[in-house]
């Protein structure tokens, strides 16, 4: 029998907004799938595009980045850099023929618990439809 596919989504989030938003989803007892694996950084601008590539190559079915809304970063302009780096990375993914749909960037504030749960659910559904990432088996890097 085929095993149930539970995606693994490495989710890099900033401490100030999205991590706190995720906490609020918890305190509000909202449900979101176990596929979301939260990894905390202080600011989304710490998220090196290499983290996403590494996650993908290690077999993550999806990678999520969460940060404060533009203008709300606790380190002034950090998330503008995040947005630019994310854009460049998705371009690189397209160029190399890699599935950029497996990457997602969302701005989720500390008060947006429901949005955190919603993004987690939506993105998990999407990844479920895409199926498992077989990069781990296919890539020799």
């Amino acid at each position: 029998m085929e095993k149930e596919f539970i995606p693994r989504i490495t989710s890099f989030v900033c401490k100030w907004c999205t991590y706190t938003g995720a906490d609020l989803a918890g305190t509000s007892r909202l449900q979101y799938p176990t596929s979301i694996i939260l990894l905390k950084v202080l600011c989304s601008s710490r998220i090196d595009p290499v983290f996403l590539i590494k996650s993908y190559l290690k077999g993550a079915d999806g990678v999520l980045i969460g940060g404060c809304h533009p203008g709300d970063c606790h380190y002034e302009t950090g998330n503008y850099h995040t947005r630019r780096r994310f854009k460049i990375l998705t371009e690189i993914f397209s160029t190399l023929g890699l599935p950029k749909e497996r990457l997602r960037l969302s701005w989720i504030s500390a008060s947006e618990g429901p949005k955190f749960a919603q993004v987690s659910n939506e993105f998990t559904d999407k990844i479920e439809n895409l199926g498992p990432n077989n990069a781990r088996e296919n890539m020799f890097l």
């Binding site: 710490r46 983290f51 996650s55 850099h81 749960a117």
Partner: protein, 561 residues
């Protein structure tokens, strides 16, 4: 040396205990990690954050001689500092401890107990993997200077200086002009209470009488280096640039106030210097100095037109105080003589204070004709306007008063370069956060208050002075040391190519370039640890302590096992 890693799972009463199988978690984590080099000491506790829980952890660290510790409990936002303080009572360096959130991110979101248990194991495994790659960090304590420099001797700067000065905290206030008080000293009456100039004059006296405050007139700041708690500053005399004074402070407050825009730069306003057109401030000055409002011929005006909000559309912001003071000015005329015909033209009315409505009613009662318009233009003393119903009219006045937009003081741009703090889209100083910290800036220890941050009246300027003063009092307590952030970045000299990407992205100016070595260097005292520079470095030459790539990868690898 064999690592002894304590893994403690908190029950949080029923909050965690009912939702996951704690015994299974501990069993699994112990089995998965115990090896030749690693020994896991796993245990559970009812309430780790309670007094008993803290003692329990402290004893465990001491008795079991832990080399690392993982606490699986609530969000670190709730109790990370609780457990850091436990570590600090022991030999265990707090940076060799890691908190894992299995409550908000696990127990509370997954109704199925088996799934929640597995999720908790996954998170704790990530924590156990990561903690082994964490390194000790030593917190250094720095002596601080509690003194403060205030730049600008308007009402905002004066109030800040008076509120901060004390036996243990000296304040230096510098004022570029030869007089104290800023624009407020020109105002005949002060809304809302019409307390008048006596209040301002009293505060100027309080300031100059205060033996803990040193005032330098005709003085500007030339240079500042340092960080919160330790700034070194050079002041220079405006009249004699060679006359310099060096001072040291722990914080700096910028209270440089505002200027008024030249209204003739707007296409709908056209007049000559010989026309009887005055700015609002000129009217205030005339009344303060001469006691009466008169035309240049010396006779009082009979018919006065007031135009609000000149240039608001061009400047793209509301100056906040003009509606308010224009009604005050309209009433100046009416008080002088009820026979003076006064027409006031406005597009929108901004009445933000609780007694503004009263002023509005009073103004109408005094017979001022308040006309709401769509468009207005001025030619000499002729005002052409379209009412909101579309009808166009034109009236000739013998005196016209315009309310120019409040703009940043002309020294703002230069000062932003000296202080290395950014300006907003309108050219005012940029606050750290508009809603949560409007008096802070991107540099710890540098504050902006009053109109230097944006247009506002006196009471709000004073509020900001007190807000900044409050922050300084809690951040710089005389005689106490501060512990600078230790989770900071460092450049690995051997790999840096000198591309300066990191310098470009750091919004705190925490990185400087060592020209001799050709590499970038992080100033640890300024770095806030955001990690932006790390992600910008093409050669991987920057390490952010406690958030190194290696440490983060451990969690990634564990998550994807």
């Amino acid at each position: 040396m064999k690592k002894k890693i304590g893994v403690y799972v908190c029950e949080c009463g029923p909050n965690i205990a009912d939702k996951v199988d704690i015994d299974k978690i501990i069993e699994t984590v112990v089995a998965a990690n115990n090896s030749e080099n690693v020994e896991i000491i796993g245990d559970r506790h009812k309430l780790l954050c309670s007094a008993a829980g803290k003692v329990f952890l402290e004893e465990e660290i001491k008795n079991k001689e832990l080399t690392h510790m993982v606490v699986a409990a609530c969000s670190p936002r709730d109790h990370n500092s609780t457990f850091i303080n436990v570590c600090k009572k022991t030999e265990l360096n707090p940076y060799l401890y890691k908190m894992v959130n299995i409550r908000e991110h696990c127990a509370w979101i997954i109704p199925d107990k088996d799934k929640a248990t597995n999720k908790a194991i996954e998170y704790i495994q990530g924590g156990v993997a990561r903690v082994q790659y964490q390194t000790e960090l030593i917190e250094k304590k720095l002596d601080t200077n509690p003194d403060v420099l205030v730049i600008g001797g308007g009402i905002a700067g004066i109030e800040a200086a008076i509120s901060l000065a004390g036996k243990k905290r000296k304040v230096t206030l510098i004022e570029r002009s030869a007089v104290l008080g800023g624009k407020s000293v020109f105002l005949k009456e002060l809304l809302p209470s019409q307390a008048g100039k006596e209040y301002i004059n009293k505060r100027i006296k309080d300031l100059t009488d205060n033996e803990n405050i040193q005032v330098f007139l005709n003085t500007e700041i030339e240079k500042i280096i340092g960080f919160l708690g330790n700034f070194e500053i050079i002041l220079s005399d405006v009249t004699n640039k060679d006359k310099k004074t060096e001072i040291k402070t722990g914080a700096t407050i910028v209270a440089t106030g505002f200027g008024l825009s030249d209204v003739t730069e707007f296409s709908n306003i056209n007049y000559d210097t010989k026309d009887e057109v005055y700015t609002s401030l000129e009217i205030e000055k005339m009344l303060s100095e001469k006691g009466k409002l008169k035309l240049s011929s010396g006779v009082p005006p009979k018919k006065v037109g007031l135009i609000h909000c000149v240039g608001r559309d061009e400047k793209k912001y509301c100056s906040q105080i003009c509606c308010n003071y224009m009604m005050k000015i309209a009433n100046y005329f009416k008080k002088q003589s009820a026979k003076i015909e006064v027409k006031e033209f406005y597009k929108d009315l901004c009445l933000p204070h609780k007694d503004d409505q009263k002023l509005f009613n009073l103004t109408k009662k005094n017979g001022v004709d308040l006309v709401r318009i769509k468009e207005v233009s001025l030619n000499g003393t002729k005002i052409k306007y379209s009412r909101i119903d579309g009808t166009i009219e034109e009236n000739e006045f013998d005196m016209v008063v315009v309310a120019p937009p409040i703009i940043p003081s002309d020294s703002t741009k230069n000062l932003s370069e000296i202080l290395d703090i950014p300006l907003d889209e309108f050219g005012f100083f940029q606050e750290a956060h508009l809603s949560t910290n409007p008096v802070g800036t991107s540099t710890d220890g540098i504050f902006i208050i009053g109109n230097a941050q944006g247009p506002r009246g006196i009471s709000n300027s004073i509020l900001m002075a007190h807000a900044a003063s409050g922050q300084i009092r809690t951040q710089l307590i005389p005689g106490e040391q501060i512990v600078p952030e230790v989770k900071v970045s460092e450049v690995l000299e051997a790999f840096c190519m000198g591309c300066k990407n990191c310098i470009d992205v750091c919004c705190y100016g925490a990185i400087y370039f060592d020209e001799i070595k050709g590499i970038s260097v992080v100033n640890e005292a300024i770095c806030r640890g955001c990690g932006n520079c790390v992600a910008s470095c093409p050669s991987g030459s920057i390490r952010l302590k406690h958030f190194t790539n290696e440490q983060i990868y451990q969690e990634v690898i564990e998550a994807l096992k």
